[in-house]
């Protein structure tokens, strides 16, 4: 177990969750893992169980069957709940509904205060966390004066201050405008690269999923597809059947190939598409 724990931040084994009085399992026998330093995207249409899965990783829900280990800790153990929440921080969808305090820095301090960290240490950690999300100059501001993207960065700072091993973003960009979305994505990518924090993003923006190391597609509470973004998105038909889109450039490549233009099928980003088009035009 010890060895496995070093490599994997989250391990789920035949994980099942049923909402009280619901007929169907919201999450149905999911087995997966989140590796150390990995950037994982979980996709799925509404009601596919992806948000429920995220809440199971944070011990907000306790599995009906199966097990989740977060950094080696079993979420079914009541005594470990607060340790688990410290290891796996969660950022939610609505930026307004997850900020507790009336001043930015006090909100970042909230989790640390709950855990009984010494005031001096709290000071150091919130300064670090706000710096990491580029919000230092807003430390004394009132949250309602900030933009959506800034509020989400404050929420990320609040999680970061707890020094987590995994950050879970449950559709945290869904209510933001494109620039806010970019702010948040840049922030988590940087934290993932520089601090080595594992990131799990629950999203329905394919462009965000395309930047992940690994993608899991959920359908009816089960894992329908998984693999690297390239492996998953090149199966355009299958992805569409699951009620999802593919990234715009992959879609373009798909249509070009259908019309007899010989570009690679696994194009994900604009840059790659540009490269492909240049390659084609130079070979002609």
């Amino acid at each position: 177990m010890q060895n496995k724990q070093d490599e994997n931040r989250i391990i789920a084994s035949s994980l099942t969750y049923t909402y009280p009085e619901a007929a169907k399992n919201a999450v149905d026998g999911v087995t997966m893992r989140v590796k150390k330093g990995e950037f994982l995207a979980i996709l799925g249409h509404n009601g596919s169980g992806k948000s429920t899965l995220a809440k199971l990783f944070n011990a907000l829900y306790v599995p009906s069957a199966g097990t989740v280990w977060v950094c080696g800790l079993d979420t079914r153990d009541d005594d470990l709940v607060f340790d688990i929440r410290q290891h796996a921080g969660m950022v939610f969808q609505n930026p307004d509904n997850q900020i507790v305090a009336t001043v930015v820095e006090e909100d970042v301090a909230f989790g640390l205060e709950n855990n009984g960290v010494e005031p001096k240490e709290i000071r150091v950690r919130i300064d670090e966390a706000l710096k990491a999300v580029n919000m230092t100059k807003y430390a004394k501001k009132a949250p309602h004066m900030l933009s959506g993207g800034q509020k989400q960065r404050v929420a990320i700072a609040g999680v970061l201050a707890m020094k987590p091993d995994v950050i879970i973003l449950d559709e945290s960009t869904a209510m933001l405008d494109p620039s806010g979305r970019q702010e948040v994505m840049n922030t988590v990518h940087r934290l993932n690269k520089e601090e080595g924090i594992s990131v799990v993003i629950i999203t329905h923006y394919m462009a965000e999923a395309a930047t992940a190391d690994y993608v899991i597609v959920m359908d009816g509470g089960k894992i329908a597809m998984s693999g690297t973004p390239r492996e998953v998105f090149t199966q355009v038909q299958r992805v569409r059947e699951l009620g999802l889109d593919v990234p715009p450039m992959t879609d373009l490549a798909y249509m070009l190939r259908k019309n007899g233009v010989n570009v690679r099928a696994d194009v994900l980003t604009v840059d790659e598409m540009v490269e492909e088009v240049c390659r084609l035009s130079s070979s002609n």
Partner: protein, 268 residues
């Protein structure tokens, strides 16, 4: 426009009064009010006014602000004044209308009662004008902490106040949005009599309540995810500390109370 609404009536500043510990300010305000209620002659009230004026000068707030605070209460004050005139029994008759006579005691009582109310409002105004809502909640929580031994929910109350303060701007903004949305669908909030207007508020209040409950649900989950588990073993980023300022404040108040007592003995 709804965004720049000021909460409470806090008047930001950096005076000695502003920098005092909120706990000390709360305690001193209570002492001041109790002190004022024991005054029973006019020179005593002059003393109370002089002390209040001194504090206001130090805090850098305009005295008008305090008077503004009294204004909404003018009816209550007049009402108490008149009531005292009629119902206090006395011996020294000032003039007699047959069915009612004004006595010296009744007049004095009425004036003192009105003055006590005025000082009560002005005293608390000094507190709320110089202390931000956040500090005030902090101070209240800290002061009430000993009561937790008797299962008094001090932390919960303070947390509720903080959350309420946090969500007032959010809900105001939302009210604005819903109002506009309903107006776009032909809702009329402005015309009609009182009952018609109250009825027109229903399509505004129902969505607001529904959304407030949803927000509460979300917030509860977010708080849980951030290890919230009530007030036990909780630390705070900003620990309150008494400073020399608080000592001076306490001494000044002690001096004021002593003056009142001496003055009351001499004249009363």
């Amino acid at each position: 426009m709804l965004k720049d609404i000021t909460l409470g009536q806090y008047f930001p500043g950096d005076s000695a009064i502003h920098r005092m510990d909120p706990r000390m300010k709360l305690i001193l305000t209570i002492i001041y009010i109790v002190g004022v209620f024991f005054i029973s002659n006019l020179p005593g009230y002059l003393l109370a006014l002089a002390f209040l004026y001194l504090v206001v000068r130090i805090s850098g707030i305009k005295f008008d602000y305090l008077l503004k605070g009294v204004k909404p209460l003018r009816f209550i004050i007049i009402f108490t004044f008149v009531l005292n005139l009629f119902f206090v029994q006395g011996e020294t008759v000032l003039f007699d209308l047959g069915f009612w006579r004004l006595t010296k005691e009744a007049l004095e009582n009425a004036i003192y009662f009105a003055l006590r109310l005025v000082f009560l409002v002005m005293g608390t105004s000094v507190l709320t004008l110089t202390t931000s809502p956040v500090q005030l909640t902090d101070g209240l929580e800290r002061l009430m902490r000993p009561l937790q031994k008797f299962h008094f929910p001090a932390h919960e109350l303070a947390m509720m106040m903080t959350i309420a303060l946090r969500f007032i701007p959010t809900l105001l903004e939302e009210t604005d949005k819903i109002q506009k949305a309903q107006m776009a669908r032909g809702a009329d909030f402005e015309s009609g009599n009182l009952i018609a207007r109250a009825k027109a508020m229903i399509p505004l209040l129902v969505p607001l309540f529904v959304s407030a409950f949803r927000r509460a649900n979300d917030l509860a989950m977010a708080m849980e995810a951030r290890c919230y588990r009530g007030g036990d073993h909780r630390t705070r980023l900003r620990e309150l500390k008494y400073t020399k300022l608080d000592l001076f404040g306490a001494l000044a108040m002690a001096g004021f109370i002593a003056l009142i007592v001496v003055e009351g003995k001499l004249l009363g």
